[in-house]
């Protein structure tokens, strides 16, 4: 059974069946990463515009590689060199780009809702690569794929997400996704990064200020990146954060014995995560990166290959419906 997707702006509007479909579509692309020749002609002649108004290396490279492996070309716009610095509005920037006829737009922006604003004004698929504090849907999908592969299933997962939850779109997308599969979600972090309103995001969320308490029985432990600019005297010095919230081997032992450790990256060893934990067999961070490629290839394929209106009954259509 297939689903139709016009854009991928967030996880919140999707249901569990649609998410499962996308994860299943990513599986053949996981296998593809092991091929000797990593080049398809599926999206040959298509162009994917990478509009990154916020700086990013990993996500941008991941999308660029996904597009290239599908045979597509990319157009690269980066904040530092962008016309935004000269005062051009977002909508004008996008319209200028559209005049060059891209087949899809992948966008990262520092304002929540930016991707939706653009999607409403263009007639090509838009993929949200992170908008402000709002959502980062492909990250949640690759996290879900990693969890499903390691655990066997997503349903009823006991996950603890800790760190700067308030400012994390990764956390929000993951909360939306996993709650649709009946996950029990525990959020943990310093009080100033753990507002009560987070409880309203989904059913079955608990807020726990102490990491030791939050980790008890967790099957998935997700460490969030700490932006060092946010760690300053007197509110929360780095040393105090490390003392109370670093994921150490001792703290990890409080979780389920086969718990997996995840991190969206980039990790700061010695800050939110102890190097021994980062390198342990329980750590999935590198799998997350590989799965990110598979997920992004699946999304680009689904949105671009699925966006054309069927022109006529294909000759082999009785075959094609298989």
């Amino acid at each position: 059974m297939s689903h139709r997707f016009r854009h991928l702006l967030g996880i919140e509007p999707l249901d569990a069946a649609q998410i499962t479909f996308l994860l299943d579509q990513a599986k053949p692309f996981q296998e593809f990463q092991r091929h000797p020749l990593k080049k398809l002609a599926t999206l040959r002649g298509k162009t994917v515009a990478l509009l990154f108004f916020e700086s990013s290396t990993r996500t941008r490279i991941s999308f660029a590689t996904a597009a290239a492996r599908l045979g597509a070309d990319t157009m690269n716009l980066q904040a530092e060199s962008s016309s935004l610095k000269k005062g051009e509005s977002l909508v004008d920037t996008v319209h200028t780009l559209l005049a060059m006829k891209p087949d899809a737009i992948v966008m990262r922006h520092s304002s929540s809702g930016a991707a939706e604003l653009v999607a409403a004004r263009v007639d090509v698929p838009v993929i949200n690569a992170g908008d402000g504090l709002h959502e980062h849907p492909t990250q949640a999908l690759l996290d879900a794929l990693t969890i499903r592969d390691r655990r066997g299933k997503l349903e009823g997962c006991k996950i603890t997400i800790f760190g700067d939850i308030l400012h994390s779109r990764v956390a929000r997308s993951n909360i939306h996704l996993l709650s649709k599969f009946g996950a029990q979600i525990t959020l943990c972090g310093p009080a100033m990064w753990l507002p009560r309103e987070l409880e309203c995001l989904a059913p079955n969320i608990r807020l726990v200020p102490r990491l030791e308490e939050a980790l008890k029985g967790a099957e998935v432990v997700m460490a969030l990146r700490i932006q060092q600019e946010r760690l300053h005297e007197p509110s929360l010095p780095a040393e105090e954060y490390i003392l109370n919230y670093q994921l150490t081997p001792a703290r990890l032992r409080l979780a389920s014995p086969d718990a997996i450790v995840m991190h969206p990256g980039p990790m700061i060893r010695g800050l939110e995560i102890d190097p021994a934990v980062a390198d342990s067999p329980q750590s999935c961070v590198l799998e997350q990166v590989t799965n990110g490629l598979a997920v992004r290839m699946a999304i680009l394929f689904e949105l671009i290959a699925g966006s054309a209106e069927p022109k006529e009954q294909a000759k082999d259509s009785s075959h094609a419906a298989d």
Binding site: H35, G306, A314, H319, A321
Partner: protein, 182 residues
Amino acid sequence: MHVVEKRQLMSAVEIPRTLDRLAHEIVEKSGGAKDLALIGVRRRGIPLAERLAKIIRASSRAQVPVGTLDITLYRDDLSTVAPQPVVQASEIPFAIDGSDILLVDDVLYTGRTVRAAMNGLFDLGRPRRIRLCVLIDRGHRELPVEATFVGRSVETSDTEIIEVRLQEIDHDERVMVMDRVD
């Protein structure tokens, strides 16, 4: 637009009988099938390949591994096919390099599916040779593709559709010619 059955081409008895004959032909023309590997294309080629392999193994002592190939990513007509294409995994549990491959599919028509299958195979390695086995050849080739082993050749018109039903997928077993009706 819907389809209406025009006539039956093969019955539940004739399909296995044809596969039996094909399997023996394959063994005969493969020098004993020692290095032979079968690859079933997308959906209905897969149970056909599995059935053929079973018969070949029974009559020749060759291993005859079976792989499956999904060609969605190699199609040349993505924009004209179903509204949202669905990719599935291909599983080929043997090395492609130097292999003697027999592609198996239910119907050979324009030849585009086979072209896509070959592209997929070449991405995985360099086979020694590729041959094709189909249950039905309905003509109307649009590419220079031919099947070495054919269950039955049928003359059809462009408005007709060949529908193959197999137990493993459709819980039914027959081949029909259908007409497109507006």
